[in-house]
């Protein structure tokens, strides 16, 4: 396994090992480029994962202090946990559900399609669906996405069957077990789904794609990739010309180190990535790196989310098998006649008893609450996920008071729901309830958004440097050898789960970056 010197200034240094960083690292390593990935979390392998929600949360979740503000329910219910993401090698690909959907063409052109929405800061992407399609195809092949490349869909579990039966009665047409990066048959050296459940706690069978046991070991096998777990990057440094020269990080022994680099790629998820750029402010860049537009940290998107659980008079056992076991796509279209722009997906979800108690109605107590828990075995559940509006005021800033263990300001997350988000959530909850009622639900329970699992937009792509942070390849407008490689590049969030698009962009970025390096442009 490769081990690179701290003073080796020929390496590409990637911050983060998730969908963006882990994929980029392997793609570059396969091209013979030397890569150091600095990962803040520990290396937790498949055998270490536990089928226990709280224990797993302690093992994997990013629980470093963060603060929140704004009108969103998360700020009230989980003031110091704005996001449920992972701090471990593999990043949030360890706990993601596996849903792998392509954006629709219009979702790359939100400003053109939706118009000038008051209170929003919409912008078209500098790339189109047609440009990304070849990379979507490569990502689907790499990840083994079901219903692509001749890979069959997963079998439907009880939770899916309830949703499917209700959806059919309501008249929905596009209902299936999803496009999932979960093996329905053995592929790429990994086995098929054993319907364990606990997809959010790390897949014990390895059937679900994660950079932890696909991209990262493949990259390491080339001898060109070194992953350093327990390495929290504090700041990115630059020279007098403004070119970045490397990063300063605190290693797993608490010692401050400096890794030199030819290129730095930031892939720490949409809260940490802008935090790092802002914490890297210098005399030359007093507002933070790559922030001449003032857009670093802004346009934070987290998807319109919510849930509906249905209670029936007979057992469902929704927790058995794949957590996100199926999808209804009929509402994903853009149809402003519904009272909002953009669309949403309905995807099955289940929580175990410990998390159901914590999340179904945070802060609730008494018999209204416990009567829900008493019917846990008879419950089916769905997650509602739709496009939310980019807003300049929804943003990540540095908390002026709170510092982390290394003395660095923590990220503060401000979010206000846009009217469009609220109208869409109300519509989605009504439709979700109707689906369960159509198959005899005796009670439906709308639950508020959980801490964000999809975090997007805080270093967005733009054609013009004044509108965003990075160009169509994720290269920052301001600094040639500084890139952003995660979902913070997203100009809009679309109705679907972001990971497939993050991976596709990383494959495309690697190709472009390798070309630029070869041509000595960086």
């Amino acid at each position: 396994m490769a081990k690179f010197d701290l003073n080796d200034d020929s390496v590409v240094c990637i911050v983060g090992s998730g969908a963006g960083g882990g994929t980029l690292g392997n793609e570059l390593a396969q091209r013979g480029i030397k890569v150091v990935i600095l990962e803040a979390g520990a290396r937790t392998e498949i055998q270490d994962f536990v089928n226990n929600e709280w224990e797993s949360f302690t093992q994997l979740a990013w629980t470093d202090m963060r603060t929140t503000s704004g009108s969103w329910a998360v700020a009230r219910n989980f003031p110091n946990l704005p996001a449920w993401i992972v701090k471990s090698v593999g990043g949030s690909t360890v706990h993601w559900a596996g849903a792998s959907l392509r954006f629709e063409a219009h979702e790359f052109k939100t400003r053109t399609t939706y118009g000038d929405i008051p209170g929003a800061n919409l912008l078209d992407w500098p790339i189109t669906l047609a440009e990304l399609e070849p990379y979507y195809a490569r990502a689907e092949s790499k990840m083994g996405v079901t219903r692509t490349n001749g890979i069959p869909g997963l079998p439907g579990n009880n939770n899916f069957k309830v949703m499917q039966a209700g959806a059919t009665r309501v008249g929905y047409k596009e209902v299936h077990t999803g496009r999932m990066a979960i093996n329905s048959e053995p592929r790429d050296g990994r086995g098929s789904c054993q319907q364990i459940g606990f997809c959010f706690q790390g897949c014990k069978s390895g059937a679900k794609w994660s950079t932890l046991y696909t991209e990262i070991p493949k990259g390491e096998a080339t001898g060109n990739l070194e992953v350093r777990p327990g390495s929290m990057v504090a700041r990115i440094e630059h020279d007098d010309s403004g070119k970045v020269t490397g990063v300063v990080y605190i290693d797993d022994k608490g010692v401050t180190q400096r890794q030199k680099a030819r290129v730095v790629a930031v892939a720490g998820n949409s809260i940490e990535s802008p935090r790092l750029l802002l914490n890297s402010a210098s005399a030359k860049f007093p507002d933070g790196l790559a922030n001449s537009s003032g857009q670093v940290g802004r346009n934070y998107m987290r998807h319109m989310t919510g849930n509906v659980y249905g209670i029936f008079d007979r057992p469902v056992h929704m927790y058995r098998g794949t957590t996100m076991a199926g999808i209804i796509r009929d509402e994903a279209r853009n149809d402003p006649k519904r009272g909002f722009v953009g669309g949403y997906e309905m995807e099955t979800i289940s929580l175990g008893v410990p998390f159901m108690a914590a999340f179904v109605n945070p802060g609730a107590w008494g018999r209204s609450f416990t009567s829900v828990m008493d019917d846990y075995a008879n419950m089916a559940g769905m997650w509602l996920i739709g496009e939310d509006m980019a807003r300049e005021t929804n943003r990540i800033t540095l908390d002026p008071h709170v510092k982390d263990a290394n003395g660095l300001p923590v990220a503060s997350v401000h979010f206000d729901d846009h009217e469009n988000d609220i109208a869409m959530r109300n519509h989605a909850i009504q439709q979700g309830s109707a689906i369960y009622e159509a198959v005899g639900a005796t009670r439906t329970i709308p639950t508020p958004p959980y801490p964000s699992t999809h975090n997007m937009g805080t270093n967005r792509m733009s054609e013009r440097p004044r509108d965003g942070v990075v160009n169509k390849f994720g290269q920052t407008h301001d600094i040639r050898n500084l890139f952003v490689s995660d979902g913070s590049q997203f100009t809009s969030g679309a109705a679907c789960n972001p990971t497939l698009t993050i991976v596709s962009l990383a494959i495309r970025q690697a190709e472009h970056m390798a070309g630029m390096m070869q041509r000595r442009e960086i």
Binding site: P155, N157, K161, Q195, V316, G366, T370, V439
Partner: protein, 161 residues
């Protein structure tokens, strides 16, 4: 509710609440009150007392090493008892009807004491495997080979709806 019944009968915390006497840091009356309060916060009539005691015992443990926390609990229970007396009951434990006790809890719902107790309980009660079994949740499954041969798709009533 044995403790409440005993208290009403003038017997106080006696033999049937022997577990409360084993409180290490808290007064037995405080621990007994916290357990009844725990059931009133998350009432499941088919849960035996033991599950609420298990959920409450970590508070006694923590109170042993954290004086401020101990004061929070003792003070919170004292306030509940005082509110109960103001309402014409002898104490929280002696308030017989759940609906009356719920009203007392609603009166302190916004206090740090109540918020701390509810927030801890939602984990310490619902994270018990014995509670999972009561609610029909089967817990860890990987070591059993998942549900691929154990009923992940065994629902049989949908066609009859």
């Amino acid at each position: 509710m044995p403790a409440a019944a005993l208290a009403t009968a003038g017997l106080g915390i006696s033999a049937q609440a022997a577990w409360a006497q084993s409180a290490k840091a808290l007064a037995p009356h405080t621990l007994a009150t916290l357990v009844l309060m725990s059931r009133d916060i998350f009432p499941h009539d088919h849960f035996p007392q033991k599950l609420y005691i298990i959920a409450a015992l970590p508070w006694d443990e923590k109170a042993g090493s954290d004086a401020a926390f101990k004061a929070l609990l003792e003070g919170g229970v004292a306030r509940l008892d005082s509110d109960a007396r103001d309402g014409g009951f002898g104490s929280y434990l002696a308030t017989e009807w759940e609906s009356d006790r719920v009203r007392l809890l609603q009166g302190i719902e916004q206090t740090p004491f109540f918020k701390k107790c509810r927030g801890d309980l939602v984990v310490s009660l619902y994270n018990q495997p014995a509670v999972w079994a009561k609610l029909g949740y089967e817990g860890s499954s990987a070591e059993h080979g998942g549900y691929i041969h154990r009923g992940f798709d065994d629902i049989d009533w949908l066609s009859s709806v």
